[in-house]
Symmetry: C2
Subunit: 191 residues, 2 copies
DNA sequence: CCTACCGATCGGTAGG
DNA sequence: CCTACCGATCGGTAGG
C-alpha cells in the first residue's frame, strides 16, 4: 500500500515515534480522520508499518538472495543487498529493524511483539543459510552457527549505524572484512 | 546534578525523545518554567543530559578499568563493567549511547554533534588500549586495530540490544565468546 | 472518506 | 525559582 510505503521510509529516517497521524495524512493528501479510520488506532498503524517493512526487506534482500545456491554464496548476496545496497538501499534512513528494535526494546505492546517476531524470522533465515553451508561442506560440521549468526547481525548493524551517524562508509568495508576473515578461517579448517 | 541523573536514567529506558520538560519537572517536583530556565531550550537540556551520561560512563566503566594495567586485561575489565554490569548496570535501559546514536543519526544539530564527539572519544579509548596491548606484546605488531575496535563495539552493542529486546542474556556470553576467540587467535600468533 | 471538535500536552514566553 | 499563559499539535471521537 502506498500509505505504508511512505510511512516505512519516514520511519527508517526518523524512527517510528517520529510518525504522527496528522503529518502522515497531510503528506498523503487526506484527512487525519480518514487515515485514522483505516487502522483504528495509532498502535495498529505502527504494527502495519512494521509488517510493510518486513515485506519490503523480504522482497529486496531475501528474495534476490534466494536465487543463489544455499550456503555461503547466498549469505554473501544477503550482505551485499542489505548492507552495501547494491541497487538502491532497502531503507533510506538505515536498517529499519535495527532502529525499530532499539526504539521499542523497553516499550511492551503489539509493536514490540511484531518487531520481535520479524527479527526472529530473520535470525532463523541466517541460521538456516549457515546450516546449509555446513551441509554443503563449506563450513566444518562443528561450526558454532549461533555465534556466527550473532556476529553477522552485530557487524552489519554497526556498519549501518556508523554510516548513518558520521557518513563514513568505512563501516561497510570493516564489516565485510570481519565476516570474510571469520568465514575464511572456518573454511580453511574444512580441508 | 540530580536533575540530569534522573533524566539520563529515563533516556536510557525510553530514548531522549521520550523526555519532555513537563514530565521531567513534575518528576523532580518543580515547575516547568523553573526547569526550562536552567537550560534555556530543550536542545540545550538534551545536550546536558548527553554530557551527564558521558560522565557517568567514564566514572562507572572507564575509570575502574584504568586501575588495571594497559592492554588486554584493561580491555577485559571494560567489557565486564560495560556489558555484564558487574555491580549494577551503568544505564538501566541499556547502553545510553547506542540508543542515542540510533535516535539522532538522521537528526542534525547540537545533540547529534555531542553524541558524535563522545562516541569518538570512546573509540579512541578502545583504540589506545589495543595499541597498548600491541606494545606489551599481547597482540602481534600487524594487528588490524581499527577492525578489532569495530568488532568490539558491534558485538557489545548487539548484546545489549538482545538482552533489552527479548530479555535473553545469552547475547552477553556470545559477545564475550566472540571477542575471546578473536583475541586468542591473535595472541597465539604472537608466539 | 470528510468536517469539526475533544481534552491533554508540547516547547516556550511574560512578568514577577 | 514561581504562576499563568501562548499557539501548535497530539491521538482520538462524533456524526455524517
Amino acid at each position: 500500500m502506498a500509505i505504508l510505503d511512505a510511512a516505512v521510509d519516514a520511519a527508517s529516517e526518523g524512527g517510528l515515534e517520529s510518525l504522527t497521524i496528522g503529518r502522515l495524512s497531510r503528506q498523503l493528501g487526506m484527512s487525519k480522520a480518514g487515515l485514522f479510520t483505516h487502522f483504528g488506532s495509532k498502535e495498529a498503524l505502527l504494527v502495519a508499518i512494521v509488517r510493510a517493512a518486513r515485506d519490503r526487506f523480504y522482497a529486496r534482500v531475501i528474495e534476490p538472495a534466494l536465487a543463489l545456491p544455499p550456503g555461503l554464496s547466498r549469505l554473501d548476496a544477503v550482505f551485499e543487498h542489505k548492507v552495501a545496497g547494491i541497487h538502491e538501499p532497502c531503507f533510506p534512513g538505515g536498517c529499519f529493524f535495527g532502529k525499530a528494535a532499539t526504539e521499542f526494546e523497553n516499550r511492551p505492546g503489539l509493536v514490540k511483539d511484531a518487531i520481535i517476531e520479524i527479527v526472529g524470522e530473520w535470525v532463523s533465515f541466517l541460521t538456516e543459510t549457515l546450516e546449509q553451508a555446513v551441509v554443503a561442506g563449506e563450513l566444518p560440521a562443528d561450526t558454532d552457527i549461533e555465534l556466527i549468526a550473532f556476529e553477522w547481525r552485530a557487524l552489519t548493524q554497526h556498519a549501518s549505524r556508523m554510516i548513518q551517524l558520521t557518513g563514513d562508509p568505512r563501516g561497510i568495508e570493516l564489516a565485510r572484512r570481519s565476516i570474510r576473515a571469520r568465514l575464511d578461517a572456518l573454511r580453511a579448517s574444512v580441508d
